[in-house]
């Protein structure tokens, strides 16, 4: 069992890497089709939005602190957009709110 953990992990890592590397290495030309190009252009925005909400609401110790953290991060992202400030602003907001809960 002990040695086989590494084999398990190698299988998992191998499959994960193949999924990540196959399109990247097989699709070497720029896709000309306007529809597919548009689709791929929109992919990150949909994926990140879907991953963020509502998951962020259950990420902290309470929904209230999470909601405040979400609102603060949203505002900073809207008016500033600096990655570090947004991430830290959200964290600090959660921390402060939880001090009072």
């Amino acid at each position: 069992m002990k040695d086989s953990i590494y084999i398990y992990l190698l299988v998992a890592a191998g499959v994960t890497y193949l999924i990540r590397a196959l399109p990247m290495t097989l699709i070497r030309k720029n896709i000309k089709n306007k529809y597919i190009r548009s689709f791929l252009y929109y992919v990150p925005y949909v994926t990140l939005a879907v991953m963020t909400f509502p998951a962020i609401l259950t990420a902290t110790a309470s929904v209230i602190s999470a909601a405040v953290g979400f609102a603060v991060a949203l505002l900073i992202a809207y008016f500033d957009g600096n990655l570090f400030k947004v991430a830290m602003g959200g964290c600090i907001a959660v921390f402060l709110v939880e001090l009072f809960l």
């Binding site: 953990i5 590494y6 398990y8 992990l9 190698l10 299988v11 998992a12 499959v15 994960t16 890497y17 999924i19 990540r20 399109p23 990247m24 290495t25 070497r28 030309k29 720029n30 529809y35 190009r37 548009s38 689709f39 791929l40 252009y41 929109y42 992919v43 990150p44 925005y45 949909v46 994926t47 990140l48 939005a49 879907v50 991953m51 963020t52 909400f53 998951a55 990420a59 902290t60 110790a61 999470a66 953290g69 979400f70 991060a73 992202a77 957009g81 600096n82 990655l83 570090f84 400030k85 947004v86 991430a87 830290m88 602003g89 959200g90 964290c91 959660v94 921390f95 939880e98 001090l99």
Partner: protein, 246 residues
């Protein structure tokens, strides 16, 4: 000319490192819990760190540990990983169009290694084409946070104060917002896409009882459907990289 190229790469690498800091912090917090889980199922800290270094995938790693703990077979492990991580296939497709056709081919192998939700997020949304050194810069900071977090979690168990851990959990989500909100402010199409995506995701989460999907599958299906509709309703006309209308 070569000198100029090197300076350009260095500039991108440093920029990537800067953007990698919040990712690394968020990773540390998440990976810490991974390490604790690993410890609980009897994996050594070294095995935990090995897993995190070779996979860089939170849901995938949790799933891997479930398979290991259950003592299921290698085939089951492969299938589980395929299902949980299928969204990376789509991200990889998108990135294949984000890099220059002229970029040396070997970079595609290394970029692929670092297609995580977060590193993909910042890499796929830079202005213009992606310089691979930007991805490497971000990975050079984020990956150690991930691997070290897992290792320490497996060594010491839960020692982070609960309120600090709770606050740090928001870092990665905040980063996602920092990636999608500024373009949404500039382009109405993206703003609509972001709102629709969040609403749809909420609906699916509320209906989780009736539609049992792993979070990975939910992300994949919603992405295909919503980005598909958006591309149909509002195809991008010009050949550049950004939606200049809307």
């Amino acid at each position: 000319m070569k000198q100029l190229k090197r300076q350009e790469n260095k500039k991108w690498f440093l920029k990537g490192m800067r953007h990698g800091v919040p990712i690394g912090l968020g990773y540390f917090a998440v990976a810490f819990t991974l390490g604790i889980t690993a410890k609980n199922i009897g994996m050594t800290p070294l095995q935990s760190a090995f897993m995190s270094f070779t996979m860089h995938a939170s849901a995938g790693e949790f799933a891997a540990m479930t398979v290991i703990a259950a003592g299921s077979g290698y085939v089951e492990m492969a299938i589980t990983q395929l299902v949980i991580n299928l969204r990376y296939l789509l991200m990889s497709c998108a990135l294949s169009q984000k890099v220059s056709e002229k970029m040396p081919f070997v970079h595609r192998f290394f970029i692929s290694y670092y297609i995580t939700d977060e590193i993909f997020g910042i890499s796929s949304t830079v202005d213009g084409k992606l310089n691979p050194w930007y991805t490497y810069g971000a990975a050079s900071v984020a990956s150690p946070g991930w691997v070290l977090g897992t290792f320490l979690g497996a060594v010491v168990g839960n020692i982070l104060p609960a309120n600090v851990a709770s606050a740090m959990n928001v870092a990665l989500y905040g980063m996602f917002l920092a990636i999608i909100i500024p373009p949404a402010r500039k382009h109405k199409v993206i703003a609509v896409i972001v709102v629709v995506s969040m609403l749809a995701s909420s609906v699916f989460t509320l209906l989780a009882e009736y539609i049992p999907l792993s979070s990975g599958m939910r992300i994949l299906i919603l992405t295909v459907v919503i980005a598909g509709i958006a591309a149909y309703v509002h195809p991008i006309e010009e050949s550049g990289d950004s939606a200049n209308e809307g």
